[in-house]
Subunit: 194 residues, 2 copies
């Protein structure tokens, strides 16, 4: 972490993930119970613990006033007919926003609030998406062969709550249908206890 201003290259064609300090990888084994087709999940896992996505994050102090930024790279693929996706999370400090700028590839951001609102927005290169405070978010790569690369920025004190989604899931899933990506209800979604 430098004390002064620093730069990184993030535009398609010039992206340099190594400009970001922290490298996180997520494999199939870390997504237990998240995919609808459990038979397909177990069969795939038996063959290979595939790399689903990677995150590169600029190291900054995790305190109010700072920003955390980095690259999210979701690889192409499916578990059954459900696309590779990130775990998805609420922010621990719920009242914090996040911005995603799609740099390359094609995908969708699945979002929902604790109050029951949901939204799915398409991600294509050049799209900047504002995820308001209170909205959980998960990115899904709907491309056949290309990585979905997004550049994200959020308040550094936001933190991550992965547990709520791991337990309840998202209300909506993105699967491959006859005419391409489709948004379906998640039959395994669990309503929060009141």
């Amino acid at each position: 972490m430098t004390n002064g201003p620093s730069t990184a290259l993030v535009q398609a064609g010039t992206i340099r993930p190594e400009d970001f300090g922290n490298h996180i990888t997520r494999r199939l084994s870390s997504m237990k119970g998240q995919y609808l087709d459990q038979t397909a999940y177990e069969r795939m896992l038996g063959q290979e613990d595939s790399l689903l996505y990677e995150v590169y994050e600029l190291l900054r102090p995790e305190k109010e006033g700072e920003l955390l930024s980095g690259l999210s790279i979701v690889h192409p693929g499916k578990v059954g007919n459900e696309y590779f996706m990130t775990k998805g999370h609420f922010h621990e400090v719920l009242e914090t926003a996040e911005i995603y700028l799609c740099l390359s590839g094609r995908g969708m951001m699945v979002m929902e609030t604790p109050e029951g609102d949901w939204s799915v927005k398409e991600l294509t290169p050049g799209v900047s998406l504002y995820v308001p405070p209170r909205w959980a978010h998960r990115s899904v790569n709907t491309g056949a062969s290309e990585d979905l690369v997004t550049y994200f920025i959020y308040p550094a004190h936001a933190g991550h709550d992965y547990g709520t989604i791991e337990t309840r899931g998202f209300r909506k899933l993105v699967t491959e249908g006859a005419d391409g990506p489709q948004i379906i209800d998640n039959p395994k979604w669990v309503e929060a206890a009141v």
Copy 2:
């Protein structure tokens, strides 16, 4: 302002400034005393109150946890041999960062802290610049004919302190020299009263 997630197009070739709600324009007359060559400034102003730069900003609540984002478009041109630039500012809440992503054009970000540190970073397409908390910042278009377009994001409670720079100036200026853009000491820079 929508309550839910919203999108805007910001990548070079697909930029849609109209996706952002608020449009701010800054003309030559608003930069009184900021350019080194006052004679050139007055002469230019006598001919036309030129548009120096424009800002498009997504309307969001200006409170902690939200992010303000938008496009900054600095037009090409010079006052004497000093390039068109933004007013530049500290954040009112000094301990807040900002991220600038250069989308098109070529320029420099001039930065300094109240403690006397300074830094000038080059902006070219794809460069993401982290401006840490405490650093005042001004973008300068060093291109001959192209707009300098950046996409900026900062904590929504940061606020703007333009007054300090208007009174004291930046320690460094960017002017056109024999070999292109050069960074020079600002002879009119005023040290802060202790």
